[in-house]
C-alpha cells in the first residue's frame, strides 16, 4: 500500500521498525520496478551534482544577466575568512553553500532542483555542511537525502510545489521542511523527530509569498535560500530536544494548500505585487529593460 500521509508514514516506520529513508527507498524501488541499490545510486548522483554545484558556486563571481547578483557568496567567504561567524563553522558553511548553489542557479549553471530550482540551495547546504562538520559518511548523507525526498514527496501529493500555484511557502518553505527532516535523520533522530522537525519548519513559514523582482530568480530568492537553510536547523534542533508541533504535519500540509489558494495571484510568481511592485523594484525594472 502506497503511503500518502505523514501519519501513515509514521505508523509504517513504527510497525516495521524502520527509518524514513528505508521506507522511502523501498517504496521508490517498488514504484520504478528496480532494486533498492539502484535507487541509492540515483540519489548518490543527485548528491554528487549538489556538491559540484556548491564547488562551482564557491569559486565563481560571474553576475547574472541582470547584473544585480552573483557575488554574495564571495562576500561571505571574505568576511568569514577574516572574522569568522559568531555561530561557528557549521553556520558559515550552511550560509555559504546555500548562496553558492542559488547563485549557480541564477547563472543558468547546473544544479539539482530540490524540490525546485529557486529553492535548490537549502537541502544541499544543510546536508553537506552537517556531513563535513560531523564527518558523516556518504551512505548516511544518501539516507538524509532520501528522508528529504520522502517529506517533499508526501507534501507534493497534496500541493503542487510551484510558486505560481502556492507561493514561496511551497518552494523554499517545503525545501526547509525537507532539510529539517534530513538533518534530524543525520543527527540520530527517529521517524518522530524527522516528521516533527519538518512540521516545525513548515509551520513557521506558512504564508510566504513569491514576488520576485522583474520575475527573476534573484531578489529575494538567492538570499532566501540561506535564511531558510538556517530555519531548518532551528526546527531540527527543537525537534531533537523533543519539542513538538501541536498541529500535526498532515494538517500543516493542508494549511499550506489552503493558504496557497487564499493567496492573491499578484503574490504568486506573477511579479505583479509585493516586493516586485516596490518603488525600487520598478526603477530596477526600467533600467533592466533599457539594456
Amino acid at each position: 500500500m502506497a503511503i500518502l500521509s505523514f501519519s501513515e508514514l509514521e505508523a509504517r516506520c513504527n510497525e516495521q521498525n524502520k527509518a524514513v529513508y528505508e521506507i522511502a527507498q523501498e517504496e521508490e524501488a517498488l514504484l520504478s520496478e528496480t532494486e533498492v541499490n539502484v535507487v541509492r545510486i540515483k540519489v548518490l548522483e543527485d548528491l554528487l551534482a549538489m556538491k559540484e554545484a556548491v564547488k562551482s558556486g564557491l569559486t565563481s563571481t560571474e553576475k547574472a544577466v541582470s547584473g544585480w547578483c552573483g557575488d554574495d557568496c564571495a562576500k561571505l567567504l571574505y568576511r568569514y575568512k577574516s572574522n569568522g561567524s559568531l555561530f561557528g563553522t557549521v553556520f558559515e558553511k550552511i550560509t555559504e553553500y546555500a548562496i553558492a548553489t542559488a547563485e549557480e542557479n541564477l547563472r543558468m549553471g547546473r544544479i539539482v532542483a530540490c524540490p525546485t530550482a529557486g529553492s535548490c540551495g537549502i537541502v544541499p547546504s544543510v546536508i553537506i555542511a552537517a556531513g563535513e562538520e560531523r564527518k558523516i559518511s556518504e551512505s548516511e548523507q544518501i539516507n538524509a537525502l532520501l528522508t528529504a525526498g520522502m517529506i517533499g514527496l508526501l507534501i507534493s501529493n497534496k500541493v503542487q510545489l510551484a510558486g505560481a500555484v502556492a507561493g514561496c511557502q511551497a518552494e523554499c518553505g517545503v525545501a526547509s521542511a525537507m532539510a529539517a527532516g534530513a538533518l534530524s535523520q543525520m543527527l540520530g533522530g527517529g521517524v518522530r523527530e524527522v516528521i516533527q522537525a519538518s512540521a516545525l519548519a513548515l509551520k513557521n513559514i506558512l504564508g510566504l509569498t513569491c514576488d520576485p523582482v522583474c520575475g527573476l530568480v534573484e531578489v529575494p530568492c538567492i538570499k532566501r535560500n540561506a535564511f531558510l537553510a538556517v530555519h531548518a536547523v532551528t526546527a531540527a534542533e527543537l525537534a531533537l530536544c523533543g519539542v513538538e508541533s501541536k498541529i500535526p504535519m498532515d494538517e500543516i500540509v493542508d494549511t499550506l494548500k489552503i493558504t496557497g489558494q487564499l493567496m492573491s495571484p499578484l503574490l504568486k510568481e506573477t511579479s505583479l505585487g509585493g516586493l516586485a511592485k516596490t518603488k525600487t523594484a520598478q526603477e530596477l525594472e526600467k533600467k533592466l529593460f533599457k539594456k
Binding site: L31, V112, A113, T116, G152, N157, Q160, L161, P265, K268
Partner: protein
C-alpha cells in the same frame, strides 16, 4: 504516488524548475509528438509564463527543448546564438482559464501542442490539434486519430495485446459522433514501428504516432 525523484531532481540548468526545466521538457515532448524535421516554430506563452518567462529563460528552454536539448545541457544558456536554421517566434497572452504556466507550441503551422508546467519540472500536455490528452511524459504512449466509429478500441488493443504489452491507461475523445476522434494509450513498454504500421493499416485511421517518454 509519484516518484521520489520528482522532488529531488532533475539535475538541470537554472534558474527555475517550472519556468526553465519545465519549459525544456514541454519542448522535448512537442518534439517527441511531432517527430519530423521542422523549419518553423511559434510559442504562445500564457499567464506567469508570459509575465516572468523572460527572466527565467522560459523562451530559451522551450526552443532548446523542441531542438532536442535535455534539461541539464549547458548549451541552453546560449541557444539563441547556437540556432541557425529554424525560424522561431514568441507571442505573449493572458488567459486566466488556463494554468499559470501554460504554452501553445505551433510547429510548421501544422500541429499545435498545448501544455502546462505543473511544478518541480513536471509537465502535462493537454491538447494536440485541439484534441484533449493528458500526457506527463512518464509513459511511452501510442496516439492515433481516426474517424469515430464502433470497434476501434478493440482493434487497437488487440494489436497491443498480441505484443504482450500492458496498457497503463487508455483515453478517447471525439469532435462529434462520426467525426474525427483521438485515442491515446499509455504503455508500460514502448511499441515498435511495426505496431505503428499495423495500427495505421486499420481502416479510417488517419494518423498514428509513437510518443517516447521523457528521460
Amino acid at each position: 504516488m509519484n516518484s521520489l525523484f520528482s522532488v529531488i531532481s532533475p539535475i538541470m540548468v537554472g534558474p527555475s524548475s517550472s519556468h526553465t526545466a519545465g519549459a525544456v521538457r514541454l519542448g522535448l515532448m512537442a518534439r517527441n509528438i511531432y517527430k519530423n524535421d521542422f523549419s518553423k516554430v511559434k510559442f504562445v506563452l500564457y499567464n506567469s509564463f508570459a509575465t516572468t518567462g523572460f527572466g527565467h529563460g522560459t523562451d530559451k528552454g522551450l526552443l532548446a527543448g523542441v531542438l532536442g536539448y535535455t534539461v541539464d545541457d549547458s548549451g541552453i544558456k546560449n541557444i539563441f546564438d547556437i540556432v541557425k536554421d529554424v525560424d522561431y517566434s514568441y507571442e505573449y497572452a493572458e488567459d486566466i482559464s488556463r494554468h499559470p504556466n501554460s504554452v501553445d507550441i505551433i510547429i510548421d503551422n501544422k500541429m499545435t501542442i498545448s501544455g502546462d508546467s505543473v511544478g518541480a519540472g513536471e509537465i502535462r500536455i493537454n491538447s494536440i490539434n485541439g484534441f484533449s490528452v493528458s500526457l506527463n511524459g512518464n509513459y511511452d504512449t501510442l496516439l492515433l486519430m481516426y474517424k469515430d466509429k464502433p470497434g476501434m478500441i478493440s482493434k487497437v488493443s488487440d494489436i497491443i495485446q498480441k505484443q504482450r504489452i500492458n496498457i497503463a491507461s487508455l483515453h478517447c475523445d471525439r469532435s462529434a459522433k462520426g467525426g474525427t476522434a483521438s485515442m491515446y494509450l499509455a504503455l508500460d513498454v514502448p511499441v515498435g514501428e511495426d505496431v505503428v504500421e499495423k495500427v495505421k493499416a486499420i481502416s479510417d485511421v488517419s494518423f498514428v504516432t509513437n510518443i517516447r517518454k521523457l528521460k
